[in-house]
Structure formats: C-alpha cells, structure tokens
C-alpha cells in the first residue's frame, strides 16, 4: 500500500510584501511593533517608502525614526471586485497622511468600509494578519 500524505487545505493568505535590501529594516521594525519613517542622516529629509538614496542630497546614509502613528485619511477606496482570496470585502484601503508629513498606504479597519471619510483621524495598529505576516493597519483615532 502506497503511503499517502494529506495536507489540510491551507487558508488563503494575503499576498506578501517583497522584502529586500532597501526595506528590510522598515519591515523588521514593523515585526517588532513599531511604525517608523526613514530619515536621511545628512539632511534630515523624511521619506516613505524607504529607498536607498536621498532625493534631496543624494546621501546613501539613512536611519529609521519612530513615527507617532497618528494621521488622517488623505484618500481611500472601497474595493468590491474582484474578490481575491485572503481578503474580506468590501475592503477599505487608504492613503494615510501621517502627522510627520509622509504618506503610507494601508487598510482602515475597525469601521464599516462605507463609513471611511477623507480627513478622518486614524491611528496605526500593528497587527498579525496571519501566522507569518504582520502589517501596520489603521483604525479610527477617536
């Protein structure tokens, strides 16, 4: 009798970010529970997403500073279709403007997708979305 192996049908997961040289530190901080913003060591310019060179002064030297996590919804969408496995619909995705001035794209959670508004104050909430992926999500601030 041939040996048979069975694997449980795995739950569909969110697509993974591509982590490489230029953003590993940023994702490491997320995995430690801290939202950060990359800062040029030469001229102090903040940038997000992290990149290897400063567009102001072309310095390759940068560090990551903690962000307050507070911001407002700068724009948002509510996605209905297509339905991709691993996500719940309708799905709210926003461009959040952080109080430090940089912007970040994420989901807005803890609120009906239809109730998200431009200008709404939000705060970061770093959450494990499955066993191996932690993401910075945003929740209404008040």
């Amino acid at each position: 009798m041939s040996a048979k192996t069975e694997t449980a049908p795995s739950a569909p997961q969110r697509m993974r970010p591509v982590v490489g040289h230029d953003n590993r530190e940023w994702w490491d901080h997320i995995n430690e529970g801290q939202l950060t913003i990359q800062k040029c060591k030469e001229c102090g310019t903040l940038r997000h997403p992290p990149r290897p060179m400063c567009w102001k002064c072309q310095s390759l030297e940068a560090e990551h500073m903690p962000a307050s996590g507070k911001g407002i919804v700068y724009s948002f969408v509510v996605i209905h279709k297509p339905v991709i496995p691993g996500y719940e619909y309708p799905l709210a995705v926003a461009v959040v403007e952080l109080e430090e001035g940089t912007r970040i794209v994420s989901n807005v959670v803890g609120i009906e997708a239809g109730d998200v508004k431009i200008g709404m104050p939000v705060k970061v909430s770093i959450e494990a979305v499955d066993e191996t992926l932690t993401l910075p999500l945003f929740r209404p601030a008040s």
């Binding site: 490489g20 040289h21 230029d22 990149r51 290897p52 060179m53 567009w55 102001k56 072309q58 390759l60």
Partner: protein, 390 residues
C-alpha cells in the same frame, strides 16, 4: 532628415562600481552609485539628464533612478531587449533620441547582483505563456538549459568546420587574463593564469573549459551621452559616436539559432558590422582597438570574422601569436573583458571603450583613433564605433 548619425553625439561621462561576487546592497543602490559617478565624471548637473535607457531585464526602473537623483522630469526612456545583446543598443537608443531632438542628455545604465542576487534565469518558466517560455521549452526537457552549453554547441561546429583547436581559445583566455592582472577593478586583478592552468582546467560543456567561461559578478556601470556640440564644453575628451547599430537576422532565436544553414557564423553580427561601417565610412582597417563581447572565448572568433578583421573561418589562426595583446594588430578587451574583468553583460565594455579613446585605460593601446565595442552573442545584438573629437 539626417542620413547618418555619424558624429552627432558623444559619450562624455562614465561611472562604475567595484565588481565583486557579493555587493551586499540592492541593485538599485549599485545603479545609483555608478550613475552618480557617471554624472560627476561628465561634469554636468543631475538635472541635465532628460533621458534614461537600460536593458529590459534590468531590475531598476528609470523612475526609481529618477527618485534617487531627485530628477524633475524625463523626456525619453526606453528598454532594449535580449540582455547581453543590448549593451551597445543603449547607445543606439540615446543617439537616436538626441539626434532627433527628443532630448538633450541621456543616461544609460545597467547594474546587477549577477552573482549574489536572485537573477532571472534565461530558462526561467512561470508566469503567462510567452514566446520566450515556449522557446525554452524546446531545450529544457533535454537538460540543455544554460548559456555555456548553447555556446558550446556553436563552438563545436566551428571547430569541426574550420579545424580550430583549443589553442586559439587558450590564446584568448590568457590574453584577457593578462589584461585583467593589471586592472585593479578587475575580479581577477593580480591573478594570472598559465597555458597549463588553461589546459588543466575541467570542461564545463565540451569543448568549453572552465577558463573559456566568464564568471557571474555583482556591479554596475553607466554612461552619459550628449550632442557633440555640447560635449566640447565638458571636461573630458569626448568619445564621439561614429556608428552604432542593432541587428537581428533571419531565423533569429535567443542563444539557440541552430536551424540556419550555417551556425559557424552569425548573420546578426554581419548586419551590425555593415551598418556601423556604412554610418561611419570606416572599415576594419581603421579600427585600432576593440572591446569584443567575450562571455566565452570562442565567441570572439565569430566577431573578428563578422567585423572583417579576417576571413570567415580564419579567426582561430588570426588570434594566434598575440594579435589581441597590447602590441598586436588589435588590442582587445584591455580591461580584461567579460572573462577576466567581470561579466556585466557588456556594459563595462562601453566604459572601457571610452577610456581607450580618452587614453586612460590601465592597458592603454598606442593607437586609439577608433575603437569598436560589441555586444552579446547568439541574440539580437548591437555594436558601436567610437572616435576622437575632430
């Protein structure tokens, strides 16, 4: 309408990183470093760059490079296909854009973590069904799936038809290594090899031995090109583009054009050579030095024949006795070439050709009026002839 781009444009800046087996940083960072070096070398401002071009297989988009440089706008950008065949096509694109008035100054670049990184393999499958995948599907099931084996296929037939032997290949391998030994930026700086080393090295894919093959490398190189008129005001002696051309020929495949009547010459090289000589009004006799694409030793033979340095089937004799050395008829790959400086898919051939024109190669040939630089073998290819400013 111009009938030739002869002398319309000049390469005015070159830059490169170190070449290594492990860069330890992203391809984008390697790109930005060599790009910064090229712009500084050209003596221009970053904002003077209004066009960019790279290979379709490059992992760093021009918009990512723009962001690094703080560029406000680009009026021209494009990608050239077929990897190693595309190196001089970067110059081709830039010259067309500038001489048709589309933009003023173009940055060409190519950077890769070709040794340490996750390089897309030519035989890669996955994703949507492309003609490329279908093509590789004819070879992969048989384990015929790497460049050494494809080139070996051509080489075997060449040796058979023309009576060439490994002595010619050894001559090429040793000459390139000799050049690299003097080049501090070469991966094989100060690491000479002997004829015995060559013949004792193992076969990779017969008839190609270990020293017939280049080694994968990390690194980047870039160049800046602008109008010849503008070049006059810039710090370095301009390397004026006399001719630059692309070519794909009938029944062209990527590395596997095995179905033509003859596989001991490559008509795409003939086509590129013809255009370069027509545009420039020059011939092989006018070429003082060359940077020939040499990811494998044997492909140098094909190019010497197509570019008219000797007759078809005679290159294996032509190269003997130091022809490609500094004191030979055609000093070749004075940087050590892809074989011994680094395999950067030919982009380092552009920087070396410019150095020869400037007179700054570590192995500077005595005569440098005109330099030929070529691109990869077995794919749609490209070449250029650089000359002195008049």
């Amino acid at each position: 309408m111009p009938t030739s781009i002869k002398d319309e444009c000049a390469i005015v800046g070159i830059g490169q990183t170190e070449f290594s087996k492990f860069s330890g940083r992203s391809e984008l960072q390697v790109t930005l470093e060599c790009v910064e070096a090229a712009i500084a070398d050209a003596g221009i401002e970053r904002s003077d760059i209004d066009g960019m071009v790279t290979l379709s297989i490059d992992g760093s988009d021009e918009i990512a490079v723009m962001r690094g440089l703080g560029s406000q706008e680009l009026k021209f950008f494009s990608r050239v296909p077929h990897g190693i065949g595309g190196a001089m096509s970067l110059v081709h694109q830039a010259v067309m854009a500038i001489s048709s008035g589309m933009c003023k100054t173009v940055l060409g670049y190519r950077a890769l973590n070709g040794c340490s990184g996750n390089q897309p393999k030519a035989s890669a499958v996955g994703g949507p069904l492309s003609t490329d995948q279908v093509h590789w599907g004819w070879y992969n099931p048989y384990g015929f799936s790497d460049p050494t084996s494809w080139v070996a296929m051509f080489t075997q037939r060449y040796m058979h038809e023309y009576g060439a032997t490994a002595e010619s290949l050894a001559e090429i391998a040793l000459t390139m290594r000799k050049h690299a030994v003097n080049n501090p930026n070469a991966m094989f700086y100060d690491k000479p090899i002997t004829s015995e080393d060559y013949f004792n090295s193992p076969f990779i894919a017969e008839p190609l031995r270990f020293y017939d093959c280049c080694m994968e490398a990390d690194g980047g190189a870039a160049f800046v090109i602008t109008s010849t008129e503008r070049a006059k005001d810039l710090p370095h002696a301009p390397a004026v583009v006399r001719g630059v051309a692309q070519g794909a020929a009938a029944d062209q495949e990527v590395m596997t054009s095995f179905y033509r009547d003859s596989i001991t010459h490559l008509p795409e090289y003939d086509l590129v050579a013809k255009q370069c000589y027509e545009q420039s009004g020059l011939s092989a006799d006018d070429i003082d030095a060359a940077v020939l694409y040499d990811a494998f030793t044997s492909i140098v033979l094909y190019q010497l024949e197509s570019f008219g340095f000797c007759k078809r089937g005679e290159a294996h004799d032509f190269v003997k006795g130091g022809t490609l050395g500094l004191d030979g008829r055609l000093p070749c790959n004075t940087n050590g070439g892809q074989l011994s400086e680094a395999h950067l898919q030919g982009i380092n051939g552009i920087t070396e050709a410019v150095r020869i024109i400037r007179g700054t190669s570590v192995n500077q040939p005595k005569k440098n009026d005109h330099v030929l630089a070529t691109s990869g073998f077995g794919v749609p290819s490209s070449a250029m002839i650089l000359g002195q400013s008049r």
